[in-house]
Subunit: 199 residues, 2 copies
Amino acid sequence: MLKLYDNRLSGNGYKTRLLMHQLGMPFEVEWVDILKGETRTPEFLAINPNGRIPTLVDSDYILPESNAILCYLADGTPFLPDNRQVKGRILQWLFFEQYSHEPNIATVRHWLAHLGYDADDPQVLERQTKGEMVLNLMNEHLSVQPFFVGGDYTIADIALYAYTHVAHEGGYDLSNRPALKAWLDRVANQPGYVTMDAD
Amino acid sequence: MLKLYDNRLSGNGYKTRLLMHQLGMPFEVEWVDILKGETRTPEFLAINPNGRIPTLVDSDYILPESNAILCYLADGTPFLPDNRQVKGRILQWLFFEQYSHEPNIATVRHWLAHLGYDADDPQVLERQTKGEMVLNLMNEHLSVQPFFVGGDYTIADIALYAYTHVAHEGGYDLSNRPALKAWLDRVANQPGYVTMDAD
């Protein structure tokens, strides 16, 4: 059976659990406490030398990096169809998520909600400025299409949903972004959807 | 013919040019001056709303994000073989590159070499601490295998080479990392290799 090392605070981990639920793939989870340093122990570093969750174990194949896990699990399914241009477009949004979205939306949430940073910390404010631009770009993109890659729900939506739906915990207000809010609802209504606190 | 919007300072752009040379794919380049704000004009934002190079144009298909471009161009070639576990592993390193490597190695280079930040700026020092760990991890990984994904040269190597081979411009010293240095030489000896200043 697939095994996932994960943490309940992590949107990156949630992505992979949401996909496995939606693909109907059974899996077990070993919860790892990031805040207690459990991703930096010698035991965990032997599994993932980069010391991060989620990390997937599929028999003797160990795979870190949430978006690589999404691609691996979804390969050839409707969540990542075998069409070169569609795959390119999905990957575009997955890399956008890790480079432009995650450091501004997810990291600020982690700082404010879990590590107790002040809301007016200069680093928080600098990242929020970038995060607002990211959310505007997403809202604009979704104003002309229901999902990130055309008409179909894919792992691009799963990847971007994970931290966008908790962006308010990072001080973001989505109320003036109707297309983004409608997309959040659309994702939450997909078959097999589970919330972030589900196993 | 393929067209690439690119900038000569960018390792992200270099990745995509290096691959196209190695695949023997003809392409033309339109150079865009990042430092003069040419990626933020209305004309460029109509091509890539995220305002970044490289951006690839293949007839009416426009694709931003350097690592998505690598996957799109290399799909099904020996640089990205059609094997689920190998693809997963290559993607693991591509996402590692964008999330863990680029913000610490490439951004610090950009700050020091192009934007004139002081070498003892606290932001520089903070990122260099993380960058040193990234380079150690890479050196360790390469001490037991010639390329990032087993025995074969893939787009994982191209993606990680681009900013690693100019890491010294960001204040990094590779001399105590022999496996990493040997890998840089190995990449530079691949068929079709071109340097960063090649068109």
